[in-house]
């Protein structure tokens, strides 16, 4: 059981980090790499178009087309930044949802358990640390439920035993009262016998 839990911990340990890493790669690194490649290709194109064809010595005034290409490259960079911003925002929204949703479920779960509802089970969807936490929360609630059942059983047993004992005490008290009553009567009778004996003795003497 313990080793099983440990292995699940090891499996999930890095997953939020991996999610962050993947999202940052998708939203920033990939567009930047692609843009980098595109920019290199654009410069290659410029070189092919304006230098290789004319030869370095023949280049005089830079042509209008060259300026246009360079301006297009600049626009490309600006648009890439725009795309990166959009994809970063998107991945942040996605990541926040991914983190907040299980946390909200956990908050709801703790509230339910605090109210005493031990049948509340949170659905485990995430396969990361939060999923593990939710799983552990469910196990904890189940454990509490089991222990509550056991303690309830003990309490019922104890109540039964207490009642039994109370009954016995009551019986004993009755018996006690009865025996004390007899003893008092015996003392009284003994006293009377003694008095009668003394009375008889005095009469015999006189």
């Amino acid at each position: 059981m313990f080793s099983q839990r440990m292995s699940s911990k090891i499996n999930h340990r890095m997953s939020i980090f991996i999610k962050f890493l993947l999202l940052s790669i998708i939203s920033t690194i990939i567009p930047l790499v692609i843009t980098g490649i595109l920019i290199i290709l654009s410069y290659q194109e410029v070189i092919n178009q304006f230098i290789a064809e004319q030869g370095i010595d023949l280049i005089g005034e830079p042509e209008q087309g060259l300026f246009l290409t360079l301006s297009n490259i600049r626009i490309q960079v600006v648009l890439t930044l725009f795309i990166v911003i959009i994809l970063t925002l998107f991945s942040n929204v996605l990541m926040t949802r991914n983190l907040i949703r299980p946390l909200k479920n956990l908050i709801k779960g703790t509230k339910e358990v605090a109210k005493g509802n031990l049948d509340y089970i949170i659905k485990v969807k995430a396969k990361d640390e939060l999923g593990e936490l939710t799983n552990n929360f469910n196990s904890m609630v189940q454990q509490i439920k089991q222990e509550k059942k056991v303690s309830e059983k003990v309490r019922v047993d104890l109540e039964g035993k207490t009642k039994e004992l109370q009954q016995k005490v009551a019986d004993l008290e009755k018996f006690h009262k009865l025996t004390i009553g007899r003893e008092l009567k015996m003392v009284e009778l003994k006293k009377q016998i003694k008095e009668l004996k003394e009375k008889t003795k005095r009469e015999n003497v006189s």
């Binding site: 692609i34 843009t35 595109l38 920019i39 290709l41 654009s42 194109e45 246009l68 290409t69 297009n72 626009i75 490309q76 648009l79 725009f82 795309i83 959009i86 998107f90 929204v93 996605l94 949802r97 949703r101 909200k104 479920n105 709801k108 659905k123």
Partner: protein
């Protein structure tokens, strides 16, 4: 071999792929639990994804310098698909806006009639091939098709989107219902798409502005994704 075209193709592919992902995700969600909105949105996303992937392929051919293939794809796929891909959207808005079946059929029927008219004029009068620029080409349908499209399809559907957008926003703010929020999200994506993609359909954004439009299309696909992934049950 203009690299701007390659860049354009990259952005368009993202939009197409994201919408296909959303299509499959909605299918998965429908299997798992009851989704209370029309299937029109699912099929719209499928056609939307296919359209933009093919636009991406077309622009990629621009980059390779294969302009004949570019025009072939435009004439036989992306051109007609520009009108066809919004048809499932008619069903979605008919479901969302009208309770009575008669009104729904009338709404869908009139828009489909407009679409058929667009397709007829498109194939009858052809299209104008766009000039190859650093950002690729942008062929456009003939003027008559454009006019028919604006009057018989675009304006009615834009009106439907706007009406539904504000109606759902009001309902969502009033009820805080998660399904209303989701439908409002879809409507927001539809609104962004309709108001941006029209510039693409009518070739109103030349040069680098075309790429800006395609980034807008990508944003709408991302909003579709976010809306589809709103948790409707805990």
């Amino acid at each position: 071999m203009y690299t701007g075209a390659l860049y354009n193709s990259f952005v368009t592919f993202i939009a197409g792929i994201v919408s296909l992902i959303v299509f499959f995700q909605l299918g998965r969600l429908r299997k798992k639990r009851e989704i209370r909105y029309s299937r029109g949105v699912d099929y719209f996303l499928l056609l939307y994804g296919l359209l933009w992937i093919f636009v991406g392929i077309r622009v990629f051919f621009d980059w390779l310098g294969l302009l004949d293939l570019d025009m072939f794809i435009w004439d036989w796929f992306t051109g007609p698909m520009t009108y066809i891909h919004i048809v499932p959207g008619f069903f979605y808005f008919a479901w969302s806006l009208f309770k009575r079946k008669g009104a729904r059929y009338l709404f869908i029927g009139s828009l489909i009639f407009g679409t058929i008219l667009c397709l007829y004029t498109f194939f009858r009068y052809g299209s104008i091939p766009g000039e190859l620029t650093y950002w690729g080409t942008k062929p456009v349908a003939n003027e008559l098709t454009q006019k028919v499209f604006i009057l018989s399809v675009f304006l009615p559907i834009l009106l439907a989107i706007l009406t539904d957008f504000f109606r759902r926003l009001k309902r969502w703010l009033k009820t805080k219902n998660i399904v209303e929020k989701q439908i409002f999200g879809f409507n927001a994506a539809f609104l962004i798409y309709a108001s941006i993609a029209i510039f693409d359909a009518l070739a109103l954004a030349p040069g680098w502005k075309l790429l800006l439009v395609r980034i807008g299309v990508m944003i709408s696909a991302l909003i579709f994704y976010l809306s589809a992934n709103i948790e409707t049950e805990d």
